[in-house]
Structures are given as C-alpha cells and as structure tokens.
Symmetry: C2
C-alpha cells in the first residue's frame, strides 16, 4: 500500500504522461482555429527548419520512432502541407514543405504564442522556465543497456 502511494507520488513516467495530456489539451484549444493539431504544428515547424529532410533525420530530431513519423506525416500530406518525394538515393524519401504548409505555419504561429503565454501566466514565468529547462535535459536521457 505504501509502495502504491509512492508510485502515484513519485513516478516520473506518470507525471510526464499526465502533463502531456493536460498540456496537449491546452495547446490544442489554442491552435485548433488553425486546423492544425499541436503535434502536426510542431512536426511541420521541424520539417520547415530542415527542409528536404529524410524520414530518419526528422525522426531523430523529434525523438520519435521512425515508423511513427511516417504515419504522422500522413495527415499533413493529406492536407497538402507537405510532399514526400524520392531523393537521389533511391531508398531515401524527402519531406518537402509546400507553400500551403508554410502559410499554415504562419497562420498558426500567433496561436502558438498565445498558448505559450497562457502556460507562462498559469505557472508563473519562473516555474515555466524551470519546467522547460528540466524537460530539456530529460530529452537527452539514453536508453538503458
């Protein structure tokens, strides 16, 4: 019983997932007018920054399973925001952000900023900053073994 309490009080995974759900809903509320889900927005931004990235590179940057990325690209492709085309190496597939994609990012940016502002206001600037710093380090945790 004491052990179980310890889990709900101290589990890093549990907290991270809970916050993921909470914060995702917040960002989703703000960005929804853009037609982009937060996941799609951040993926599109990453793809814009490394234009003509291949699937592996993008997955690496996003700390995402390659196969997950492949599928996450689908909704963006369906909306015409990106195109996936063969590169010079016949194995690689390049992710190209279309003009529509760039416009979508431009439209969503102010909404994203509102979301950021809301988080900062809710937590207080100091805690908001600390949170992001703590999360920053954690991203670089390596798999065991």
């Amino acid at each position: 019983m004491t052990d179980l309490l310890q889990v709900v009080q101290e589990c890093g995974f549990l907290r991270l997932r809970e916050d993921g759900r909470v914060v995702t809903r917040v960002y989703d509320r703000f960005t929804q007018a853009s037609g982009l889900k937060p996941t799609q927005f951040s993926l599109l931004v990453a793809a814009s920054l490394i234009d003509r990235a291949n699937v592996n590179q993008l997955a690496e940057i996003m700390a995402m399973e390659r196969t997950t990325l492949t599928r996450n690209l689908r909704p963006l492709e369906k909306k015409g925001l990106i195109k996936v085309m063969a590169g010079e190496d016949r194995r690689t597939r390049l992710v190209i952000v279309t003009d529509a994609g760039r416009n979508a990012v431009k439209r969503a940016l102010p909404l994203w900023k509102e979301a950021q502002g809301y988080m900062a206001k809710s937590l207080g600037a100091a805690r908001w900053c600390m949170l992001r710093e703590a999360l920053d380090v954690t991203t670089r945790v390596k798999m065991p073994r």
Copy 2:
C-alpha cells in the same frame, strides 16, 4: 525563420511530448518483463488505491478523458487484472482489481523501482527531483476560457 527556431527551442508542448516518448520507452524497457506497459501499470496502481472506483473518478484522478480511460481499461480486463461491474447506481460501472491484478502489481513494482533508479542516475538526483516538482505543478494547469 527566427520564429520557427523559437518554437523548437521554447515550445512546452513539444518538449513534453518528446520527453513523454523518451521516458515511456525507458520505463517500458524496464517493466516489459512484467507483461505490463507503463501506462497499464500506473492505471492498475491507481485503480488499486481507489478500489471500486467508478470510471469518472478514475479518469479525474488520471487527468484522462473518460472515454480514453474506458478503452485503456480494456487490455487490463482482457488480461484478467481487473473486472468492470455495475454498481448500485445502474449508471455507474465500478473498476475492481482482481487477485491476479494485485499480483501483477507486486511483480511489476521492483521493475518500476529500477526504472525510477535509472532515471535518477541518468539525470542526477537533484535534477530528477526538480523535474518531478515542476511536472507536479503543471498537472494542475486549468483549461483556458
């Protein structure tokens, strides 16, 4: 372009989801010998603590959409770790942890502790603690409007 850099550097949502993916993989690696995914483990623990909870209560505790919880209960039910039964109020459905469920938690607990230890070791005790504190506050952020 500067704006895009700002997104990948400062977006709380992005960091949270990335870390969610990274940390989930770590915990999954450790708990996988128990046959429980981290999500299932933490849900089972929560259900054990508030035994005979109804769906709404459990969803509230987990900061999870009610409908998500309903579906997340399914794999646990299939494995015989919980039973969902009607309560006195004919509308409510109670989540009952079975003996098999309690045993599964017992078996998984040491694996969970290893995962916690690995995280603490990877980040350093101080940063690990700070991270969990920061996440703790964030869970209580309310929806806008």
